[in-house]
Symmetry: C2
């Protein structure tokens, strides 16, 4: 176990029992009686990642003393929606590997990967309709719209080196922060709480999620595929201008800007991320982006000081180093 | 207006007012404040097809005297889910044209087409969570799972000339009959009816929907693209063995079977449907399939005799010729 894996174990330790229940719900939910579908859900259960979104539902609830019996199911639904987005992301990115396992589009093909993602979304929504409160259905269907709209907006702004940092953050936020935010807010709100604490946790999740995505975008330009566990350089390949690149581009002189654009667009460049790192110094952009992530994390952690001390609050606080120092 | 367009206008006439409400809900629901998404939802609103699934919700309700005020929204949700499946189907089929309008994948690309379909599903589910009764959310999320599982099963059985007619019908049913069935059942059941009449309408919708899909599969092997308004021959191209072909194959001698398989699989055949029609006589398969569709329609229409006479019942009965005689 790496030091950061150990960090994550510490983060989720206070809700380990809830996570076990969540995993049982997930395993049941991924069981189907259609043979062709079962082959695929068996396969994707091997993607099992950090399950941090599900853990956030449970940690937030625990930090607030919310012990509603539906919470492990709420956490499982959040994880299922995340899984559906991953399956479709891999189609969009033409990714071959996901968490060291072949992606669905690679193992089968794009057609069934699209269908499997749809199936998982529908299954997640169905599970949400069986819960006591409708707020999970409502909040998660809104969140899913935001995620998709953000990705469509991102696709429309490929090769857009003139976009503002705010625009970048709205897109990066839609990719990751939306689901982190709704996970934390559901932990606070479910089944019916409505107060400032819910808003605070929604903002906490947004900030942590955005910091996580910024760190992910940094890894995509400077990470090592072996360590990260998936292909890197895909953003550059796909025309996505992320914060480290945006910063370097906007600070660069005219000639360097031209070379950066060329690295993204000239035909016959095999490894565009490598080319990009040759034509400019990415380090200031990486540092700027990581500093922005740190500001977000620090702001989020400060809001936790208003809560009484508890193992769950400590766990949420330890997300800081986890998000900022991870290398995968 | 062709005679069959006129038929369809007659079918939906008794619920024209509810359909107008449904169309208003659809138009509102397709409005978004993300510019890149609005471009796409504006585009797909031009796909507006027969809206028969939405009409079935309203016709069934009307035939049973169900006048719940949510019904136009229920109908709109059914249409939205259908629209989402169409957008993803076009990606799966690599279709360039949908109802004489460029498909989303053709006008933009596969990436955003996948995302737009996801967005529409999420929007449909969200709309369902705002209704009085949860049964629309529940039944439609189950239906969507069945649709996706059926398409995955179909993909797993490409080039399967040994499948039974029952297996073919379970797949064809998942593609079309599931949503017809749930549309009719919701019209009967919403918000809370539970009796034999609901089951009867679920079965009615299944039979009509399966007949419709069989007719569609026939058009794909023998239809004219100009008349049908979308590419034909795509099933053969994509390895889908539909009822007319299955019948001809299973009745054929060994040599003909080999030639049929070759038409599906040999490399460098530009138009596989044309090749297929050269190597075997498809007519007996077409007649067999259309006879099966007629049996389904006749059985469905017979069950309507148990209802009191009404304009809506007459309209549902006139679906028979519409499904069996349509050429698009």
């Amino acid at each position: 176990m790496s030091p950061l894996d150990a960090d994550l174990s510490r983060v989720v330790a206070p809700v380990e029992q809830g996570l076990e229940s969540m995993r049982r719900v997930l395993a049941e939910t991924l069981t189907t009686d259609t043979p062709a579908v079962s082959d695929m859900t068996d396969h994707i259960s091997r993607f099992r990642g950090k399950q941090l979104r599900g853990a956030l539902v449970l940690l937030t609830a625990d930090a607030l003393g919310n012990q509603h019996e539906d919470l492990p199911e709420v956490a499982a639904i959040v994880e299922l929606i995340h899984l559906a987005t991953l399956v479709h992301d891999d189609v969009l990115d033409e990714a071959a590997v996901r968490r060291r396992v072949a992606s669905v589009n690679q193992r089968w093909d794009n057609q069934v990967a699209v269908l499997l993602g749809d199936f998982l979304y529908a299954r997640a929504f169905h599970l949400s309709t069986t819960l006591t409160s409708r707020i999970a259905s409502q909040m998660l269907s809104i969140a899913t719209q935001k995620i998709c709209a953000g990705e469509i907006e991102q696709a429309a702004h490929r090769y857009d080196f003139e976009q503002s940092q705010e625009h970048y953050e709205s897109i990066a936020g839609a990719k990751t922060a939306v689901l982190y935010s709704v996970a934390c807010e559901l932990g606070a709100r479910y089944p019916s709480r409505e107060d400032e604490t819910c808003v605070m946790f929604s903002e906490f999740g947004w900030a942590i999620g955005l910091a996580f995505q910024i760190a992910d975008d940094v890894l995509d330009v400077v990470g090592d595929a072996e360590v990260v566990g998936k292909a890197v350089g895909t953003d550059v390949q796909d025309g996505k201008v992320t914060l480290p690149v945006l910063y370097v581009y906007q600070a660069a002189d005219r000639a360097t800007r031209g070379r950066i654009r060329d690295a993204y667009t000239m035909p016959d460049i095999e490894n565009r991320a490598e080319k990009l790192s040759e034509v400019c110094d990415l380090q200031p952009g990486v540092e700027y982006a990581l500093a922005r992530a740190r500001v977000l994390v620090d702001g989020a952690l400060a809001t936790l000081e208003t809560l009484p001390d508890s193992p769950a609050r400590s766990a949420l606080k330890s997300l800081g180093p986890y998000v900022l120092e991870r290398r995968w």
